[in-house]
Every structure is written in structure tokens, then in C-alpha cells.
């Protein structure tokens, strides 16, 4: 894993998501804003291509930590830092575990993995933030989970495009990508 480029990528993606990427957010829906999480796309890309599970989980933790640092509001209180880092690390482990059973180069499986990743990570994050939120933390849990579901679908739809854009940069982030490693072993 190339850690410095990964951190730079995570930073750029977070910056994109918090500024320009807000163009993609649907702000005026009756349930609340719904938008894609492009950092999920980066984490899924890493999980699909990393060679070692430990590297992938640390990368997931870093990406989740960046989200924690750039998010302040959720279920009725100012959010805490940490839940998303852990959730991302665990979700990378989940994708790593099932990736061999799926056609990873196809758009369909990529979308399913991104959607499930987003649903699990964001759902866990919302649940943890609701636990910590004072006052009416659980009052809006149902609405928040609906937002999470729609955001996961939205994120999943963008996964093939992001995979296409990130593939040329794969060797910048991952020192020995999985396919390259396998080719080397065959020869």
C-alpha cells in the first residue's frame, strides 16, 4: 500500500465531497438531503484491489477517519469522531471476504458491493450517533435510515464510473495490486 498517495486521495475526495460534490446532493427531498458518498467508492476500490487484508482495513480506517473529520451534524447533536473510521475498516473487511465470490470487474457486482458497503457503514454510523445524541436522538432514526438507504443506492449507481476513473491510478495507491501479484505468481 502506498500510504501517502492514499491519504492525498482521501483528502481530495473529502474536499470534493464537501464542496463541489454537493452539486450532486438532492437537498429538497421531504425526508432530508440525499447524496452520494464518494469516499465509499474509494474504499470499495481499495478493498477490491488490495493484496493484504490488514492494509485494506487500515486504508478503510483512514478514509473513514477523514469523513469523521469533515462531518459535524447528524441525529440531533454534533457528531463524534471515530465511528465511521471503525465502520469503514469493518466494511473493507466484509468486501475483502466476499470479493473472490464475485465478478469484480463487472459493473453489477461493484454496484452491489458499494451499495451494501454504504448501507452498512452509514447505518452503523447513524446508529452510533443516535446512541450518543442527547435528547431526541432516536426520534428521527427511521427518517435517517431512509436517507441512508437512498444515499446507498445513489452511491452504488456511481461505482462503475468511479472504478473506471480510478483504475488508471491503481498503481499510485496500491504498490502491488492483486491482479499484478497474481500474474507474477503464474509466471
Amino acid at each position: 500500500m502506498r500510504w501517502v498517495p492514499l491519504i492525498i486521495f482521501a483528502y481530495l475526495f473529502a474536499l470534493l465531497q464537501a464542496t463541489l460534490g454537493k452539486i450532486l446532493t438532492l437537498d429538497r427531498l421531504p425526508i432530508g438531503p440525499v447524496g452520494p458518498d464518494v469516499l465509499v467508492l474509494l474504499a470499495v476500490f481499495v478493498a477490491l484491489n488490495v493484496r493484504h487484508l490488514a492494509d485494506g482495513m487500515i486504508a478503510g480506517w483512514i478514509i473513514g477517519f477523514v469523513i469523521d473529520l469533515t462531518t459535524g451534524g447528524s441525529a440531533g447533536d454534533v457528531t463524534r469522531i471515530g465511528p465511521m473510521a471503525i465502520a469503514y475498516a469493518l466494511c473493507v473487511w466484509m468486501v475483502f471476504a466476499v470479493r473472490e465470490a464475485m465478478f469484480r470487474d463487472r459493473a453489477g457486482p461493484q454496484m452491489i458491493l458499494a451499495g451494501v458497503f454504504c448501507l452498512a457503514a452509514h447505518g452503523a454510523w447513524v446508529a452510533v450517533q443516535s446512541i450518543f445524541a442527547s435528547g431526541a436522538g432516536w426520534a428521527s432514526f427511521g427518517e435517517l435510515m431512509l436517507q441512508v438507504l437512498l444515499s446507498a443506492i445513489y452511491t452504488a449507481l456511481l461505482m462503475p464510473l468511479m472504478n473506471f476513473l480510478l483504475t488508471p491510478c491503481r498503481s499510485m495507491i496500491i504498490s502491488t495490486p492483486l491482479e499484478q501479484h497474481r500474474r507474477g505468481r503464474r509466471h
Binding site: 474536499l15 464537501a18 464542496t19 429538497r28 458518498d37 462531518t71 459535524g72 435517517l144
Partner: protein, 305 residues
């Protein structure tokens, strides 16, 4: 050999007027003065003198009428000035200092309504302070020259929840965690006055008994504000205005928050209603804000909650 047509020649001369007019005006003034003073003046006949006297009398009467009319118009102008001064003139200073800031980023995730602004502790921004929109107001219909615009806080947008040296995080009033004590001002429609309970009896709402209704407003997380458990007897209706409480230590001035959009019955609490309020400020594209710092002695900045 070709000549310019009259139309083309007129256009060319028109262009040249810009070069002639500024310098030519002073010369023509001098020529006119000299010619007037050098005109020979002669005597008048008795009939011409009588005619002049008659005309003089007519002009004097007309002058008196015009003077009376002028006095009347002066009164109207003065009255108009008073109204304009009351509407747009300098009003009494409110005990706050305004820190201008600009929204530079949003939250990464879409589940909260927070914004990052580019003013922080170095500028005097600390948690708990309120923030308003920033609008340019002008009574001119023309393009404003630089440095002559008037800035005005228009509507509440939220409060500062986190602050660092040069940036701060703003929690917008539609965030689920936002709560503010506010007042509903009932709008009186002269054509159909609403009935409210005043003491023990039902009466028509008049300006004399129209006191603001205190409520606790909370963000609903979906771009709106709600105020729960408001007494039905107040008869709040869509269109009524929600403002901040002027006695609030964090924001000691009444600032517009929003407009009541819907009034819903509260099934859990009979005799109570829930108000759904639309914010006055357009929050998704929010860009320029004022952070409001109370300046009166004893008004603390009471933390982010």
C-alpha cells in the same frame, strides 16, 4: 470620388461631438456674456410702460400663488422624508457586533445541516454565537459604486457549534440538533380577523391584544423547522412569522427565522398543535453570513448547546 451619405456623415459628426462639446462650452459662455453686455438699450413709450405695469401685476399674483403651492409641496416632501428616514435611515444601534464570514465547505455526509465558515476564534467567533444571512440593501436602481453598499443581516441561519483559529462550524437551523427559543407573531388580516382566547373569552384578534407567542423551534433535518406543543387557543395560522426572542442573551435582537407553513393537530396532546415552519433564508445555497457577537456587558457566550 465618393462622399459619405447624410446618414453616415451624421454618425461621424456625432462621434466628433465628444471631442468638441467639453471644450467648446466654456468658449460659447464667454461669447454670449460679451454680446449681452454690449447690446445697446433704448427708452420705452408711455403705452409700453402701462403694458409692462399690467404684466408686472399679473406676474406678482402668479408668483404669490406659486409660493403658496411651493410651501404645500415642501410640506409633502418633508413628510415623505420622515417616512423614508424611518424606513431606511439609521435606526437605534443594537448591542451586537457582526463578523462577516463565508461558507467554504459543507459536511461530507448529507445527514446533518452544518457548514464550515472561514472565520474563527481569531476573528472572535466562538461556540454558541448566532449567525444570520448577509444581504446587500440599496435604494438605488442603478449600479452601485464601490464602498457605498449597506450590509444588513436579514434572517437567522444557525449558530456556531465548533470554532478553531480561522474557521468555525455552523449548525444550520434545519439541523436536527438545533433548538432556539422564538416568538410567533400573528399576522392580522383586516378582512378576516381570527378569533383567539383572551382571558376567559373568545375575541377577535386586534393589535392591542396581539402578543407574540413563545415557542421552542427545532430543526427537522429535512430543510424545515418545527415547533411542538403550541396551544391551539393561540390560533396560529399559516403565514404567521417566527422571530428570535429579543431577550435572548446570544442574540439580543429580533431576527426573522421563518414563516408558518402548516399547523397540524398534535394527537398525543389534545388542545395542542405542531407548527411546521419554512425558513426565511435559503439554506442550501448559503454563502455569505454574519456571526453575531453580543456586546452588552454581562451577556455571555454560553457554549454550543
Amino acid at each position: 470620388m465618393t462622399f459619405l451619405s447624410p446618414a453616415s456623415a451624421g454618425r461621424v459628426r456625432g462621434l466628433f461631438h465628444w471631442a468638441i462639446a467639453p471644450l467648446g462650452d466654456a468658449g460659447m459662455y464667454f461669447v454670449s456674456r460679451v454680446k449681452t453686455t454690449s447690446e445697446p438699450t433704448g427708452g420705452i413709450s408711455p403705452s409700453q410702460a402701462r403694458e409692462l405695469k399690467r404684466q408686472n401685476e399679473i406676474l406678482r399674483r402668479r408668483q404669490r400663488l406659486l409660493a403658496a403651492r411651493l410651501a404645500q409641496l415642501d410640506g409633502q416632501i418633508e413628510s415623505g422624508r420622515t417616512v423614508i428616514s424611518r424606513l431606511f435611515g439609521r435606526s437605534q444601534d443594537v448591542p451586537v457586533k457582526l463578523i462577516p464570514a463565508r461558507v467554504v465547505a459543507e459536511d461530507s455526509l448529507p445527514y446533518g445541516w452544518c457548514r464550515l465558515i472561514n472565520a474563527g476564534q481569531k476573528q472572535g467567533v466562538s461556540p454558541g454565537l448566532a449567525a444570520t444571512t448577509r444581504t446587500l440593501l440599496s435604494d438605488r436602481s442603478e449600479k452601485l459604486p464601490k464602498n457605498l453598499a449597506v450590509l444588513s443581516g436579514q434572517a437567522l441561519v444557525g449558530r456556531v457549534v465548533e470554532s478553531s483559529a480561522y474557521s468555525a462550524r455552523l449548525q444550520l437551523l434545519t439541523d436536527r440538533g438545533y433548538r432556539v427559543g422564538a416568538q410567533v407573531h400573528r399576522v392580522i388580516n383586516p378582512r378576516s380577523r381570527r378569533t383567539v382566547r383572551h382571558g376567559d373569552r373568545l375575541v377577535k384578534l386586534t393589535p392591542q391584544i396581539n402578543r407574540p407567542v413563545n415557542v421552542l423551534a427545532c430543526g427537522d433535518g429535512a430543510g424545515g423547522i418545527v415547533a411542538r406543543e403550541v396551544r391551539l387557543a393561540y390560533n396560529i395560522q399559516p403565514g404567521d412569522r417566527l422571530q428570535t426572542h429579543p431577550d435572548s442573551p446570544e442574540l439580543p435582537v429580533a431576527v426573522e427565522i421563518g414563516t408558518v407553513a402548516r399547523v397540524l393537530d398534535d394527537p398525543k396532546h389534545p388542545g395542542m398543535v405542531t407548527l411546521e415552519i419554512s425558513p426565511t433564508a435559503d439554506l442550501p445555497p448559503l454563502r455569505e453570513v454574519f456571526v453575531v457577537v453580543p456586546t452588552l456587558a454581562g451577556l455571555g457566550q454560553s457554549g454550543g448547546r
